[in-house]
Symmetry: C2
Subunit: 408 residues, 2 copies
């Protein structure tokens, strides 16, 4: 007879986008609604959070909106970060630093090709730095930063994808403004052989994994988290590495495969959901109760107008219902008994963090009962920054979830 | 010095969706605008075209809208089609019959799971018919139809994808209305082992290919066209088979990879675009000038409101600019000299068809000159069927193409 009610410690979300301004004011109060009392906060604001001072200012905003949540802050890493700033960050209680998608671009990238949305990360061409003969970029430019992070005990968070081939830039975009000879065999001196590695969204994570292994070998004491893993290859790699390497898994990647985001903008995120066997590997490692795999939702709200359009923004919004979603999904593959370790314990143990005074010891109770996910979460207009009111469509909008938070 | 002007015979599009009503009235006149004078017309109307009479009525509508285009008609195949109807079709000049995506569903499919949009094709569960121990459905139910088609010389067109795993229906959709035991190991008596083959949109075509080989072995004289191939595996398979098996390739699959439809509804189509190495295989076989690979655009217009939404319809609209797109794309990989064979000759040769009286011998001239693709093609409201006015966003809307039709 399966349990119809479960009581857990409040959960920890080790990868969350809380945004700014009006969107932030809508999202932050939802953290606790989802059963979460500890949020590991992503720094990709506009501008990105690259200093201790910015992080503390942002943290103050968040705490004002949700005094009962522990916010752990991160820096947007750049090779320019000084050792002093890393030490200052540690002293101020900042926990980690993240590199979003590793950006490799030819030095003289044509102007019409979109640059990384994260200007804090410098770009270096393949073949120019060492360790890049596989055609993917090197992280050595960050090594001085990693060294101080390792010494100081900051955690390195990695969006583990390499960029897709740039082949198209030269070979097939002749219809664009920028042109090369149809027979060009290089871009800015980088031969096509290095720009043509069959990299695309479906294998960008797998092709990143050798870098993860190399980083771990070079900094064995540095705690590294591979963020929002989506593939069997990633699960296998993280398992094979030492105790200083962990992995977050989102709610939605435990549920979606490639078919689900094909033409379905609200399921489109990066990294993209992959094959059924990849989803199975994620479920299996959760069902196994492996303590280096824990919850990081990567919940990333966008106005529905930025989703239901020709070029949808990447991101799935799960914050308001994290535990109801998770209980329903884990229940579906017989792993409900792993919910507590995955969502409440393993992450804090890996990070070695505790919730702020008075936050520990709280619990949340879930009951097996169906209810419909709201169609939208509305946010207000922001007269200061000049943004309009709108709504965010959550994961499984309008569908039934099987578990409800009844206390907590 | 590359040519700056080329003159070709008008092209043939061996896979086109011309729609009905207001959409049809917008699309059909665009066929000739794209440099095409022969259109092989898909029968997936509402209701689908399953009889000679329907096909001839539809053809009369099309010819009225575009008297200068040769329309070759097809039937929507169903196992119910009688040998007499096949013979009647042949006598009436119908050229082929198509099976869209092979639909396998458990017999007692839960009511909330969407059925195939093509009700003409019957569904049979895996494991029930022979030849299905690989977990994919059998075509033997169609064999009487294929036999008469082979005898009569009709062409079999195949949408070569098998359906994705149904595993989710049972295992993870507990949040939906329909529920099973969390530990269920079958649906309607079909064991999960047969429903769990790692099939998804990225490998559905490759996993179909053994069926193509089997059909060809069983009906060696039946002309079979694998429609809108997207994978290296498909190219390799068709090459390996006999002269009665051919393959259409769309405009957009020569250009797109998976990254391009991730979050980009106007690039979403079925089969989905795949890896860079798959696109390269399609380009290579066109560059090679292989005569069993020819143009079938699968141009499939949808109102932009059906694309820029939570659940986008599948299809890319290329009809108005087929030759400008193709010249630009083939030029980009140095295969402009293959345009004539690919777009104008190989298809007609394989099918053994000629254009209707007075249509042969026309030419079209393309000039190397840039112009912007329109943002939209508008269609009118249809008071009879009660549909609203709207617009269709074409492929590469707003982008530059490098070749323009200047005469033809």
């Amino acid at each position: 007879m399966p349990a119809n009610e479960i009581t857990l410690p409040t959960a920890s979300d080790f990868h969350i986008h809380l945004r700014q301004d009006a969107m932030m004011r809508m999202v932050v109060p939802r953290v606790a609604e989802g059963g979460v009392s500890l949020a590991y906060v992503m720094p990709n604001l506009r501008p990105p959070i690259t200093s201790t001072e910015q992080a503390l200012t942002y943290k103050a905003h968040l705490e004002k909106l949700a005094p009962n949540v522990t916010f752990l802050m991160t820096l947007f890493l750049s090779p320019d970060l000084t050792p002093d700033e890393v030490r200052r960050a540690k002293q101020a209680g900042i926990v980690g630093g993240i590199i979003f998608m590793a950006t490799l671009r030819p030095l003289a990238r044509p102007h019409h090709v979109p640059l990384s949305p994260f200007p804090g990360v410098k770009s270096y061409p393949r073949g120019v730095t060492t360790n890049s003969d596989s055609g993917i970029e090197s992280y050595e430019i960050y090594y001085p930063v990693f060294k101080v992070m390792e010494e100081e005990g900051l955690v390195l968070n990695l969006h583990g994808e390499i960029p897709s081939d740039d082949e198209k830039v030269c070979k097939s975009n002749l219809h664009e403004t920028w042109q090369t000879s149809p027979n060009c065999d290089s871009i800015s001196g980088i031969p096509f052989s290095l720009l043509h590695q069959d990299v695309c969204f479906m294998n960008a994570e797998e092709k990143f994994l050798p870098h993860l292994a190399q980083l771990h070998a070079d900094f064995p004491k540095l705690k590294i988290v591979l963020e929002h893993a989506t593939s069997k290859a990633a699960v296998d790699m993280v398992k094979s590495l030492g105790d200083t390497v962990a992995c977050t898994i989102t709610v939605h990647h435990l549920e979606l495969i490639v078919d689900d985001w094909a033409g379905q903008a609200h399921h489109f995120c990066k990294p993209v959901a992959k094959y059924p066997h990849d989803r199975k590997a994620l479920r299996d490692v959760v069902a196994e109760g492996h303590s280096r795999f824990f919850l990081g939702t990567d919940s990333a709200p966008h106005p529905h107008t930025a989703k239901e359009t020709a070029h949808a923004h990447a991101g799935v919004f799960t914050t308001p219902l994290v535990l109801p979603y998770l209980a329903t999904i884990l229940d579906s593959f017989g792993a409900l008994d792993r919910l507590q370790g995955f969502a409440c314990e393993f992450g804090k143990r890996f990070y070695g963090v505790v919730e702020k005074d008075g936050h520990g010891g709280r619990t949340v109770t879930l009951k097996r009962t169906s209810f419909a996910v709201p169609q939208t979460y509305n946010f207000e207009a922001d007269v200061v920054v000049g943004t309009e009111a709108g709504g965010v469509v959550p994961f499984w909008a309008g569908k039934e979830v099987g578990w409800r938070i009844v206390k907590g």
